[in-house]
C-alpha cells in the first residue's frame, strides 16, 4: 500500500509538471519542419541552409586579401580536421566544396553548426559519414566570409 502510494505520488508529480514540458516538446518538433520560415519565406531552402546568411555577394575573381585572412582562420580553427585535398580526415576534405555547396549554405553551416546538423538534410547526411559533430568554432561573420574565399582559392578561383 505504501509502495503504491509512492508510485502514485510520483506519477502525480510527473503529471503536475508534465504539461509544460510536453508542450515544449511539441513546439520543438514543430520547428524542425516548418511550412514557412519566420519572415514568411516559403519552406526551408536546402540550398541556403539555416542561418543568417541569405545572400552572399561573390565576385567572379578571387579577393586575395579575404582569401589570405581565411587561410589564417583555417590554420587555427579548421585545419585540424579538414585537409585541402579531397581526403577525409575527421571531416571531409575541402577540395571542390565550393562547387558542391552555395556560399550561403557553407557560411550558415560554419556559423550555425548545431541547427544545421539537426535539420539540414545535406549536413545530416555528412554527419552520418563522419560521425563527429563539427565543433562550432565561433567564427565571426567576417571569418566565415574569409574562409569561404579561401575555399574558392583552394578550388582554383584566380
Amino acid at each position: 500500500m505504501k509502495k503504491m502510494l509512492i508510485v502514485f505520488s510520483f506519477l502525480a508529480f510527473v503529471y503536475a509538471c508534465g504539461n509544460q514540458s510536453s508542450s515544449n516538446a511539441s513546439t520543438g518538433s514543430e520547428t524542425t519542419s516548418p511550412a514557412t520560415t519566420e519572415n514568411g519565406n516559403p519552406s526551408y531552402d536546402p540550398e541556403r541552409g539555416a542561418g543568417k546568411f541569405t545572400n552572399v555577394e561573390v565576385k567572379p575573381e578571387l579577393d586575395k586579401a579575404m582569401a589570405e585572412a581565411g587561410l589564417k582562420v583555417y590554420d587555427v580553427k579548421c585545419g585540424s580536421c579538414h585537409k585541402l585535398t579531397d581526403e577525409k580526415l575527421v571531416g571531409p576534405g575541402w577540395k571542390g566544396v565550393t562547387t558542391r555547396h552555395k556560399p550561403e549554405w557553407i557560411m550558415n553551416f560554419v556559423t550555425n553548426v548545431d541547427e544545421m546538423l539537426d535539420k539540414d538534410p545535406k549536413a545530416m547526411a555528412q554527419l552520418e559519414i563522419c560521425l563527429v559533430r563539427m565543433p562550432n568554432q565561433n567564427l565571426t561573420d567576417d571569418d566565415a566570409r574569409h574562409v569561404y574565399e579561401f575555399m574558392r582559392k583552394n578550388d582554383g578561383v584566380k
Binding site: S9, A12, C17, V76, G79, S80, R133, Q137
Partner: protein
C-alpha cells in the same frame, strides 16, 4: 503518438486523483506532501538563485541551484582538485603557494559577495582559508579562483571575508591570537603578555585586485565572526570575540568563565584617517599574493614583504568593546544598519544592540573602563534581548521585512523573530544541529526573503548510511508566508559553514563560454596544428600539443631520453561551449589535465623507465573519443634516437621524413 499520449494523460490524471485522496502523515513526510513542488525545477529549466556554499574542511566552494538543490559545480579554491587539475597543472600550482610553500588542503568557512550600495552586484565571490590565513576571490564569470592573498600576523583566519557595502574592504580577523613581531619564541603560558590578535582590512580595487590596506593590532582574544555596518552604520565593522579570559589551555572550560565577552565595534573610516595621517607603523612580514591571468591561463605567485599596522590602544577612537553575554559567535547587522545581533552560543537570550545607542554612548563617554587599552561601552548600547528564543543561538539572517532568522545549534531549530519588538514569531526544527543559515541577500541591505537555507552539521538517519562518515546537509525552507515551511533537503560537499545566494539573473548572462583562441597569450600555446611541435631545451622537452575532436597533434613522439623532463603544453583548439578535453599520460606522478576550449594547460612528466607510453583524452568528447590517443617513446640516456614528432603518418613514411621544424 497522440493517442498514446492521451492514454498516459488519463492514467496520470487517475493517479493524481488517487494521490490527492491520501494525505501524508508525520513530520518526516513534511517535504513529500504539498510543498515539494516548491522545490521542483523541471528538467531543462533554470533555478531562480545561485547558492554558493562553503565546503568547510574540503577547502572548496560548491555552487547549487535554489530551490532545486542541484549541484552545478565545485569551485576549487584552497585545496587541490583532481577533477579540475587545480594544483596539478603547472599553471595552477602557484595559486596554492604561501609563505610556507605549497599548501594542498585548507579549510574554507565563509562566503561574501561583492556589493554596490549595500546590494549584491554579482561581480565576485570571496572565501576565507581558516588554517593558513588567506582570502580568495572567485570570478563569477568563470566560476574560477582568480586571486588569493595571504594574511601576515594572523592565525586561524575565521572572522573573514566579510565585506563593506561598496566593496571597499574585506576583513580578516584572527581566531587565534599569537605572538607577533620579532620575538615569537615565547612560553605559551605568556599569552596575556605576548599574544595579540589582528584584524586585516583588505582593499578591493576596481578590477578586483586585493591588497592589505592596514591591520589593527588588538588584545589577545579570539575573534569569531563579523559584519560590516550598512546605511547609517556604514563606516563601522562589528566583530564578535570570545576568550576574553585570555586562556591558553582547555578553552572549553577556561574561555567560558566570564559572564560576558565582547562585540568589537570598529570605526574603519577613522582608521583610514589615521592611516592617511601616517600613524601606521610599517612592519616587515612575508605573505603570498597569487593571481590568475585569463590571457596566459597561468597563475603568478609573488611574496610581499610589508604591512602597515595601526594600534587602537594608542589611536583611541577606532575601536570600542561592547559587552555581550557568553562567548558570542554570530554578529549580524540588520538591513537597516541600525541593529547588531550578537549570539552568545552558551546564552539563553539574543542581545540586540542599537547603532544609535552605541554612538550616543561613545559621545557621552559612557565607558566601564578598558580592556587591553580599548574602552568598554556599558549597557547603554543594548536595544533589547529576545527572551527564551532557544538554546545556543549562532547566526542571524534577515528577510527584508523586519524579521530575523536565528539558527540554534543546541536546540536544532530556526527561530523567526521581529527585530524591533524582539518577539518570537515562529520556529521550525532542523535535521540536525544547524550551524549557519542563509537567505538570498540576507546579510545585505536588500534581501530576497523567499527562502532560508539551513546548513546542518549532523544528518545521522536522514539519508542512506555510507559507513562512519556521513554527508552534511542543507535544508530549504519557504519563508514567503508567516510560517516557515520545509520544502527540500539535500546533501552537500565537505562541511558547509556560511553560504550566500543571489538571483541567477545577476550572473548567468555573463558566464564565459569559451576562451578565445586569438586572445590566448600562453607562452607555449599552439594556435592551430601548424604550430604544434616538440622542442628540446637541454633536458627539458616542450611539447606544443593541440587537441580537437578527436585527436592530438602530434600524437607520435620519439627521441625522449631518461633524465628528460617533459612538459605537455596542451592547447584545446575547440571554440565551442562545453567541449573540454582531457590529457593523461601513463605513469605521470602528477595526475591529469582538463583543458577548457581555447585554453592551454601544462602537465609535467618525468619518465623513469624506457618504453612506449600511451597518452589519451580523459574527457569524453565525441563518438571517436576512444580514438583520441597517442604514443610517446622513451629511450635510454645517451641514445641516438632523434627527436621526432608526427600526426597521421604511418610507419616507414614517418621515419623517413621526421617532421622536425
Amino acid at each position: 503518438m497522440n493517442s498514446s499520449k492521451r492514454m498516459l494523460t488519463i492514467l496520470l490524471a487517475a493517479a493524481a486523483l488517487q494521490w490527492m485522496s491520501c494525505k501524508p502523515k508525520g513530520a518526516s513526510n513534511a517535504a513529500a506532501g504539498g510543498s515539494a513542488e516548491k522545490a521542483y525545477v523541471a528538467p531543462g529549466k533554470y533555478d531562480e538563485f545561485y547558492n554558493f556554499v562553503s565546503g568547510g574542511f574540503s577547502g572548496q566552494m560548491s555552487v547549487y541551484g535554489l530551490p532545486s538543490g542541484r549541484l552545478f559545480r565545485v569551485i576549487p579554491v584552497f585545496s587541490v582538485d583532481p577533477e579540475k587539475g587545480w594544483g596539478y597543472s603547472e599553471e595552477s600550482k602557484p595559486m596554492l603557494m604561501t609563505s610556507n610553500g605549497f599548501v594542498p588542503w585548507d579549510d574554507l568557512h565563509h562566503i561574501s559577495f561583492s556589493q554596490t550600495n549595500g546590494e549584491i552586484d554579482g561581480r565576485w565571490t570571496f572565501g576565507n582559508a581558516n588554517n593558513t590565513p588567506r582570502v580568495a576571490r572567485i570570478d563569477n564569470t568563470t566560476f574560477r579562483t582568480a586571486e588569493i592573498i595571504e594574511l601576515p600576523n594572523s592565525a586561524g583566519n575565521h572572522s573573514s571575508p566579510f565585506i563593506t557595502e561598496n566593496s571597499e574592504y574585506l576583513v580578516a580577523g584572527t581566531r587565534f591570537s599569537v605572538p607577533i613581531g620579532d620575538n615569537t619564541d615565547v612560553p605559551i603560558s605568556s599569552y596575556k603578555e605576548n599574544f595579540k590578535g589582528t584584524i586585516s582590512f583588505i582593499s578591493i580595487a576596481k578590477e578586483g585586485d586585493m591588497d592589505i590596506a592596514f591591520q589593527l593590532l588588538l588584545p589577545g582574544v579570539n575573534f569569531d565572526l563579523s559584519r560590516a555596518g550598512k546605511g547609517p552604520s556604514h563606516g563601522w565593522f562589528f566583530f564578535s570575540c570570545y576568550n576574553s579570559e585570555q586562556a591558553n589551555t582547555l578553552l572549553e572550560v577556561n574561555a567560558s568563565q566570564r559572564d560576558k565577552d565582547f562585540i568589537l565595534a570598529v570605526n574603519w573610516k577613522k582608521a583610514e584617517e589615521y592611516l592617511k595621517a601616517g600613524k601606521g607603523i610599517k612592519q616587515k612580514v612575508r605573505y603570498a599574493h597569487n593571481k590568475w591571468d585569463e590571457k596566459t591561463h597561468t597563475a603568478k605567485h609573488e611574496i610581499r614583504t610589508e604591512v602597515t599596522v595601526l594600534d587602537p590602544a594608542i589611536l583611541k577612537d577606532i575601536c570600542y568593546f561592547i559587552p555581550c553575554p557568553k562567548s558570542p559567535h554570530g554578529c549580524d547587522t540588520d538591513p537597516t544598519g541600525e541593529y547588531i545581533v550578537g549570539s552568545g552560543k552558551l546564552a539563553a537570550v539574543i542581545p540586540v544592540f542599537s547603532f544609535t545607542k552605541i554612538q550616543k554612548a561613545i559621545a557621552d563617554k559612557k565607558y566601564d573602563g578598558e580592556f587591553g587599552g580599548i574602552p568598554v561601552i556599558n549597557e547603554a548600547a543594548l536595544h533589547g534581548e529576545v527572551q527564551k528564543p532557544g538554546l545556543g543561538p549562532l547566526h542571524t539572517e534577515f528577510d527584508g521585512n523586519g524579521n530575523a532568522y536565528t539558527s540554534f545549534f543546541v536546540s536544532s531549530e530556526i527561530v523567526k523573530w521581529n527585530v524591533k519588538d524582539l518577539k518570537v514569531l515562529d520556529r521550525v526544527p532542523t535535521y540536525y544541529s544547524i550551524g549557519h543559515l542563509s537567505i538570498p541577500g540576507g546579510d545585505t541591505r536588500k534581501p530576497w526573503g523567499k527562502y532560508v537555507v539551513a546548513y546542518n552539521k549532523i544528518t545521522k538517519d536522514r539519508y542512506l548510511p555510507t559507513g562512519p562518515e556521513l554527508t552534511q546537509s542543507a535544508q530549504i525552507f519557504d519563508i514567503s508566508g508567516d510560517k516557515m515551511q520545509l520544502i527540500l533537503d539535500f546533501p552537500t560537499i565537505g562541511e558547509p559553514h556560511y553560504a550566500g545566494s543571489m538571483p541567477a539573473s545577476l550572473i548567468k548572462g555573463k558566464s564565459v563560454k569559451i576562451y578565445k583562441i586569438d586572445e590566448n597569450k600562453h607562452p607555449y600555446v599552439a594556435k592551430g596544428e601548424k604550430e604544434s611541435k616538440v622542442v628540446r631545451e637541454g633536458n627539458k622537452i616542450h611539447v606544443y600539443m593541440t587537441s580537437i575532436r578527436s585527436h592530438f597533434a602530434p600524437d607520435n613522439i620519439e627521441g625522449i631520453k631518461l633524465g628528460d623532463e617533459v612538459y605537455f603544453h596542451v592547447t584545446n583548439l575547440e571554440q565551442d561551449w562545453d567541449v573540454p578535453h582531457g590529457f593523461a599520460v601513463k605513469g605521470a606522478l602528477n595526475a591529469e589535465l582538463l583543458i577548457m576550449p581555447g585554453e592551454t594547460s601544462t602537465l609535467k612528466w618525468v619518465p623513469e623507465k624506457t618504453g612506449v607510453y600511451p597518452f589519451y583524452c580523459t574527457d569524453f568528447c565525441s563518438a571517436l573519443h576512444q580514438e583520441m590517443q597517442g604514443y610517446i617513446r622513451v629511450s635510454p640516456a645517451g641514445s641516438n634516437v632523434p627527436l621526432t614528432f608526427s600526426l597521421g603518418k604511418q610507419g616507414a613514411d614517418a621515419a623517413e621524413k621526421p617532421a622536425s621544424k
